[in-house]
């Protein structure tokens, strides 16, 4: 009897633990999962914002591909950076692996952030059918159009930089080989055509300011023009992989010009904060066709919202009002400064001249490849006391808190592209761009391919466009234009700098595929020639 009484609680104890199936089911209430997300319109909108964030993050780490590295690759700028830094940027500048053999992953982060952006887009696209759209078909189409635009935008960056990339159109963990670039361009072209066809034709003036930054029909049409010109130029093809003809590309650009409501800002300098200070026209101006938006709220805990690459191009570790300090990367090639006409207002708006502006720069000893010139269009800014404007605004650090947007497609570019594609108004478009640049000193010159390319060099210096403009004229042109032997100052000591044409032709102007990805793929990914 006594024993029995004891066993009752024993059995109770054991059975308590034994029958609780739910005991091991816990739930993470702060995040959703793939299974229970992508259901409502609100979910879809959040995911769409995440896709934009993915696009914005493509500039957040790695070597600042969109502007910094492409300017360095072009004849606009040298690698530069600090005198005690590694030689990665020299490797990029000179297309020479031996300049920094250990830098096998110079573009490793870039490669990763681009595929992350594409994954976000692919995840949303593949879940669009799960969303309850409540009959709002236009909303679905608009979201799909914006997402596909961003996917195309990312692929266009990647296929230009690396040439040979795996094409991921659905989320997958497979070990995918690189594809023929035509397949990538086919996806880009169809995505952009979808975006152009399915986004509303709302002119600039009618756009809701709160939506500024969203992809528009005009952005899609303008990007088609850019892709068309690059693909047909670099690969020597008559049309864009059979998807977009020259006529269609031009028609899109003319549509932007005629119906987009855009215009040129009256003074060139007003487009750039450091060139115009209080006269800066603002980000949502009538010349911005598409921009990647940045703000100062980046922190060290994973919030990435700022322009992380701009600090690379600031004056080397010295704030000189109105310029903030930076790392002194991509010093401007004096060749570019000297090529400008003295009456061209774009020169002073685009380039900081240390001597020309009588800036008291004392840090030559720390600067590699000092030329006396820095980029002005994208440079960190400081107040008279040297305090970073980004930090004054509330940014955690000037390194990550730069808030200047990257204006990827300007209306001036649309005008010049339309002129290049043979618009009947080519001379007018061309003149309009030049009139703004020269003001009262304007003298008309005839519109032709050579003059357009030359004008593009001055108009878009420091905007990450020049290098692609060179490449689309053919490797030979690009190589001979970029190659040079000159003298720069490394830590204050005069040093010979050589960029040889053979390296550019050897690599076809393409960049190094990250070696870590090649080894991870067990050799499925192949390195580009020359790297």
């Amino acid at each position: 009897m006594k024993i029995l009484k004891i066993y009752i609680p024993v059995i109770a104890l054991l059975s308590l633990a034994a029958c609780k199936k739910s005991f091991l089911d816990t739930e993470d209430v702060t995040s959703a999962t793939e299974q229970n997300f992508y259901k409502t319109q609100s979910d879809a909108y959040k995911a769409l914002v995440g896709v934009y964030d993915g696009l914005q993050r493509t500039g957040s780490s790695g070597s600042g591909l969109a502007v910094v590295a492409t300017e360095v690759m072009s004849d606009n700028a040298f690698g530069a950076t600090g005198n005690a830094d590694g030689f990665g940027f020299q490797m990029i500048d000179e297309f020479d692996k031996l300049r920094s053999p250990s830098d096998v992953d110079m573009f490793g982060d870039n490669w990763t952030v681009y595929y992350k952006a594409i994954y976000r887009a692919n995840m949303l696209l593949s879940h669009l059918d799960n969303v309850d759209w409540k009959g709002n078909d236009n909303l679905r189409k608009a979201y799909e159009a914006e997402t596909r635009f961003i996917r195309a935008y990312c692929y266009f960056d990647m296929v230009r930089v690396w040439g040979n990339i795996p094409l991921v159109t659905k989320p997958t963990t497979e070990n995918l080989p690189q594809v023929n670039p035509d397949e990538v361009y086919k996806l880009i072209a169809t995505d952009l055509k979808f975006a152009a066809a399915n986004l509303p034709a709302t002119g600039y003036a009618a756009q809701v300011p709160a939506n500024f930054g969203r992809v528009t029909k005009w952005a899609a049409e303008a990007l088609i023009g850019r892709v068309f010109l690059y693909y047909t130029g670099y690969y020597g093809k008559p049309d864009l992989v059979g998807v977009v003809s020259k006529t269609e590309a031009l028609a899109g650009l003319e549509d932007v010009i005629n119906n987009g409501g855009f215009g040129l800002v009256d003074e060139f300098a007003k487009l750039w904060p450091a060139a115009s200070l209080n006269n800066y026209i603002g980000e949502n101006n009538k010349e911005t066709v598409f921009s990647i938006r940045y703000t100062y709220t980046s922190d060290w805990n994973g919030n990435v919202d700022g322009n992380h690459w701009m600090v690379m191009m600031g004056i080397r570790v010295q704030a000189i009002y109105p310029y903030g300090l930076g790392w002194g990367g991509a010093t401007v090639n004096p060749k570019l400064w000297n090529a400008y006409n003295a009456n061209d207002t774009r020169r002073n708006a685009s380039i900081i001249s240390i001597d020309g502006e009588s800036l008291d720069f004392k840090n030559k000893k720390d600067q590699r490849e000092y030329t006396g010139y820095y980029t002005k269009k994208y440079t960190p800014m400081a107040d008279a006391a040297g305090v970073s404007l980004a930090e004054k605004m509330g940014g955690v650090s000037f390194m990550i808190g730069q808030f200047q947007d990257f204006v990827s497609i300007r209306y001036a570019d649309v005008l010049l592209m339309a002129a290049e594609l043979g618009s009947p108004n080519a001379q007018t478009y061309f003149d309009n761009v030049r009139k703004r640049a020269f003001g009262t000193n304007f003298v008309q010159i005839p519109v032709n391919q050579a003059n357009i390319m030359n004008e593009r060099r001055f108009e878009f210096a420091g905007e990450g466009i020049r290098y692609w403009d060179l490449l689309r004229q053919g490797i030979t042109v690009a190589a001979s234009t970029i190659a040079e032997t000159t003298t720069v100052e490394n830590g204050g000591v005069s040093t010979v700098k050589t960029i040889s044409a053979s390296k550019i032709t050897e690599t076809k102007g393409l960049s190094q595929i990250p070696y870590s990805q090649i080894t991870l793929s067990n050799g499925t990914l192949k390195q580009n020639a020359g790297w």
Binding site: K5, I6, P9, V10, A12, L13, A17, K20, S22, T26, D28, T30, A32, T33, E34, F37, K46, A47, V49, G50, V51, Y52, D53, G54, A84, S102, Y115, K116, Y119, R120, M123, V168, T172, E174, N175, L176, P209, N211, F212, G282, T295, Y296, T297, G302, D305, Q318, N363, G386, V387, K392, M393, G394, F403, G491, V493, P514, Q517, T519, L520, N522
Partner: protein, 1041 residues
Amino acid sequence: MKSAKTIRFASMLLWGIFSLFLVSTNALAQTAKVSGTITNQRTSAPVPGATINVKNSTRYTVSDDSGKFSIEAAASDVLVITSIGYSPEEVNVGAGNLTVHLNESNNQMEDVVVIGYGVQKKKLVTGANLQVKGEDLQKQSTTNALQALQGQAPGVQITSSSGQPGDGFNVIIRGKGTIGNSGPLFVVDGVQGVNINSINPADIESIDVLKDAASAAIYGSQAANGVILVTTKTGKYTQKTQVSLDAFYGIQNSPKKAQLLNAKEYAIIMNEQAINSGKSPYFTNEEIDKLPVSTDWLDQMFVKNVPTQNYVLNVNGGNAGSMFSTSMGYTSQGGIVGGSDLSDYQRYTVKLNSEHKLYQDIVKLGQHLTVNNVNSHGIATGGQYSNSLRSAFSTTPFLPMYDSSGDFFRSDNLPWNPGKVGDPQWDNSVSNPYASMAYNSNSRNNTQNLFGDAYLLIEPIKGLKLRSSIGVNYWSNQGRSFRPVYHLSIFDKNDTSTVNQSMGSGRTFQFDNTLSYDFRVAKDHSFSVMAGTTAINTKGSGLSGSNWDLRVADLQHAYLDVAQNRAAESDHLSASGGPFEDALLSYFGRLQYNFQEKYLLNATFRADGSSKFAPDQRWGYFPSISAGWVASRERILQDITWLNFFKLRGSWGRVGNQSVPAYQFLAPISFSQASYIFGNTEGLNTPGAYPSRLANPKVKWETSEQTNIGFDATLIKRLNISFDYYIKKTKDWLITAPILATAGADAPLINGGDVQNKGFELALNYHNTIGKDLNYSIGANGSYNKNKIGNIPTNDHIIHGNTNVLFANSLEFYRAANGLPVGYFWGLKTAGIFQTVEEVNSYLSKTGKVIQPDAKPGDLRYMDLNGDGIIDNSDRTMIGNPNPDFIFGFNVSLDYKGFDFAVQASGVAGNELVKSWRGPGGRGNYTTEILDRWTGAGTSNKIPRVTEDGANWAQFSDLYIYNGSFLRINTITLGYDFSRLVKKNYLSRVRLYASVLNAFTFSKYFGMDPEVGHNEGFSTGVDVGYYPRPVTMLLGANIRF
């Protein structure tokens, strides 16, 4: 539903207990007064304070100062005599007037050790476990039990993550088994997951380490990295109340300080750098002779005579029906870097343990409870970007500490390199490292822990025990920090005061039930079987926020409510908070068998279910088996007089690891860090969402299998030997293996990769007496471990280490790869220094190509291992191993007529360290090592020439590698027991002692402390500015009433 069941259960339990009270007690037998004397067998001295208990009764007494006692007992009764430090004796009462000689319990084999969910006689143990007594820990006079354990436990490598008080410890048992969490499971009085740092070492009765899988397998899925069982002090039934006070007070100072260049040496090196970089020198000889400032920044960082103290008052006692142990403790320790103002640790502890007989010896109710409160604050002791000490190594000695008005010197508004004769030269990016530390170390953290259990022990028939306990581990913490407005340099400044505040709390409930039965079959066959269940649930949440612009900008007012949040553009209040939860459900059983205590067998099995895995992967099964043969009990060996005890042991077992983040089997959608800015207002982000990580529904337990063979022996009654050989193989690592970027999201944890640790451990202990009064003992232990990775399941079979560790933008330098030890250092091998241009030009590849065409005399000659004529990553190889081959400890102790003296030492051998106190090039200061640099042909073949771009340091090579072996004299103690002089009968012990901790370190390492416990990813031994352990001189007292 769940709660209803719990209530029903609880009422049943209460009813069950109550019913037991109804049973009546036995009648007493006829008794008479019996008296006797207790003496020490060896010295014949009387033994006061021994407990005399009549077996199977509640009657007891305690011997007086002359060892005499008297007690009511029948002639047929048996007396059980116990006293601390002696083996228990049983004597028949018989005619009475007894003299009992007690043997000092120096035979460890008679001791009882703690195993999982129970205890076992040490001589019957078949696994590889070890016990360290609380008194041996307390002898080390440390504020932390793990530090005291260092060098006392063979096979257990303990390193502090920094020398700052309150910082944690890395404990690695038998080599690193994983690149993930390699720490063991801590179980304090049966409660799992308690932070052992929150316990006062003086409260610890013993620490038991379960090293092999067979010993640890009873803890199944949590035991892959071993188990450490901590038992706190309890009272004893029928024990005289004993009050003890243990106290020490000491002062701490820095150990050997790193030697940095003074201003003159620095100026010379800067000049030489400039010349080697094609520039003219910065300073003339005249200027060098007149340098006005030469600051030794390490002198500024370290504070002298920083106090450390510890006081514990403990009361133990018990009568026939209850026993208890209560203690209160206070510990405080300041940090030697910055002193107590900047880094300090204070701990208050209260411990209440008791047990009560509710019904005879059949039903006992007991509890353990420890409550503590820890106040701490400190400096940053992490990697290069969060390390307050690091910049002191590289800051120019030209920079003064204070300006003319006595404020911290600011470099940001000074003229640049004025270059006038005698003027200091500096950069506006150079910041006063002391001031920077002072401004950035304004924090207060406060943690409360409460842990313990309530248990019910029922033994209805002899040998059958039911134990049921409810354990709790509750913690809560509050932290806040503040950054004032300051300007030191163009980078090191803060324009608006900021404040952070955080709070968190959590609890673990643990419900354990075990049923065990000890019985014999046919006298010679002893069995002990046990079955049990455990259910553990951990839950909690955290909250943190930050804001800026304090109304009153000081630490006292550093609360979110004081912030004014006046922002130029937008809101700066940020807040975040979230929960955590996990659960573990387990069933386990054990069978122990012995034949005449000669042949031993032990088998365990555990099944664990964890909430961290998908429902179909939840359950893991962990068996073990072990056997022993006490050969010395065989008749043929009993005649060998020098061999008193010999036991051969063998074991095999499987254990698991699940200490990974939860929900890896799901693909989460993250709502944080996914916003984008639309519209025209800077800072106004639109929240988004994105799929952040891939899912791995197949993720499951990491398992570790271990085979162990060993023996324990006692020779000539005085020498104890313990030896173990083991092979530990950990497989199905839970790792985040790199995945192809095209997958587009973060990698989930996968199971893959294995590592083998193979090694042996030896512990020797010898004790003897010289003459009548001089007792001594000598102990030595050592272990050898070899760590080797089997296979990593990625295409390149490598897990890459972090970049950006050694200096800004530094590349990868450690890895895990097939066939090599975990976290090995991966870099270029050098073969001396080019002495001449001819040497550069004649350093050719097979095809006749100059391998280092850009090199100049004085530069490092890198070995072209693959012979392709190019120095690149394919020439990188293993140039160092952070894992020691040997870890060892020694101790010597003597006592003579109340005097005692002890020395304890420990060390490691066969490992390498990486030191990186500055980035390559630039104008940072150097250590005096640079004085041996190359300055011309034949001057050095080891340290290359200096240049402004620091090219010789830009590549990770063996230039960064140092020998990490060291021997440290941890403790030297001399004490005397004044109770011999005082002779008050209420004072049983008045020992006063003096100790030196961290007295000497023998090492070839140039850094300040060779025991670099800072972890970098899965590697260790990386010194990026390591906070050294202090040298402590202290006085202490142990007083017992």
